[in-house]
């Protein structure tokens, strides 16, 4: 078997199950070639060296820092919402004053409900123009 194939087979054996026949081929090739066996053991050394032995950490109080960051972000978002509305508050006030002015100009009587447009349209039935729809239709 070619060296490249042996190498592939060796690497495959490190990460997944290989068949009995493949295992036999591999051990046969390694036993026959000492240099090849030494080369392959280089992979084992490399893998052993890179494997994490000490648990990783982001340092003390990491969880507290994350929670604080999230809470600060919430405050920041609240501030942004406030700022967004603050930009338009002058325009909104102007519109409100304009609407009140229109109400005052066009209202019949100057009292608070009419200025605010809160008067009920309570026209009595007698004040309504009567219209005999049936007779009008048959004329």
């Amino acid at each position: 078997m070619k060296r490249e194939k042996i190498e592939d087979l060796f690497l495959k054996s490190l990460d997944e199950n290989i068949s009995d026949a493949e295992r036999k081929d591999l051990s046969g090739a390694m036993e026959a070639d000492e240099q090849l066996a030494k080369d392959m053991s280089g992979y084992l050394i490399m893998r052993e060296e890179v494997r994490r032995k000490i648990p990783a950490t982001f340092g003390p109080y990491f969880a507290s820092r994350v929670v604080a960051k999230i809470q600060n972000m919430k405050i920041e978002i609240d501030k942004q919402i406030m700022f967004f509305f603050r930009r338009y508050q002058l325009a909104a006030l102007g519109v409100l004053v304009a609407l009140l002015t229109i109400n005052i100009v066009f209202s019949d009587q100057l009292n608070l409900p009419s200025v605010l447009g809160l008067t009920d349209d309570n026209t009595a039935d007698e004040e309504l123009v009567s219209f005999d729809f049936y007779n009008h239709f048959n004329e």
């Binding site: 990460d15 080369d39 992979y43 490399m46 890179v50 990783a56 990491f62 969880a63 820092r65």
Partner: protein, 177 residues
């Protein structure tokens, strides 16, 4: 009895900061391992680490529990680390010089096998680096690695094989492998 991740996620959704803190404590090690392996021990590592959990918090409502919390977090960690690597590359191209830090600077002691390996690992292409990080450094199985990265198992195996060959050929110059 230890409260399950699912319960902690539900409590966090309801605004329980203590529950979320417990989730962070529980998964910090795994996330730190991945981010540090990808980026080295730099200031950005801390920032990316925090960002992983902030993103997770923001996505709590979308988290349906189809995969384990740790899988979800590691996926975010890998993606954010890859983004950071891209940013580094752009910065390096912009300034046309190598940045400080363990990842891009040459190892001080070329006889220190660990240091040389970390240096060479960080020179791998990002797709290869993420596979090597998960499988070889952090010890996830090839199936778990495929699930986390969302790629077929065959792709994981082939990237792993190519990355190891590349690493070994480079390392052979530094030591008797």
């Amino acid at each position: 009895m230890e409260v399950s991740d699912e319960v902690l996620v539900q409590r966090s959704r309801e605004g329980n900061a203590q529950a979320f803190k417990e989730l962070v404590n529980r998964h910090e090690g795994k996330v730190a391992g991945v981010v540090q392996s990808m980026l080295g021990d730099t200031q950005e590592t801390q920032d990316v680490g925090q960002e992983v959990f902030v993103r997770f918090y923001q996505a709590l409502d979308q988290f349906k529990g189809q995969s384990a919390v740790s899988t979800y977090l590691i996926r975010i960690a890998i993606n954010l680390s890859l983004n950071e690597l891209k940013r580094r590359k752009k910065r390096n191209m912009l300034f046309a010089k190598e940045e400080e830090g363990i990842n891009t600077s040459s190892p001080d002691n070329k006889n220190d096998l660990k240091e040389v390996i970390v240096y060479e690992l960080n020179r791998l292409e990002p797709d290869f680096q993420s596979v090597v990080t998960l499988r070889l450094i952090e010890g996830y199985s090839t199936v778990e690695t495929a699930e986390i990265l969302g790629i077929p198992l065959g792709t994981v195996l082939s990237r792993l094989s190519r990355a190891q060959k590349k690493l070994k050929s480079v390392l052979a110059k530094h030591m008797e492998l």
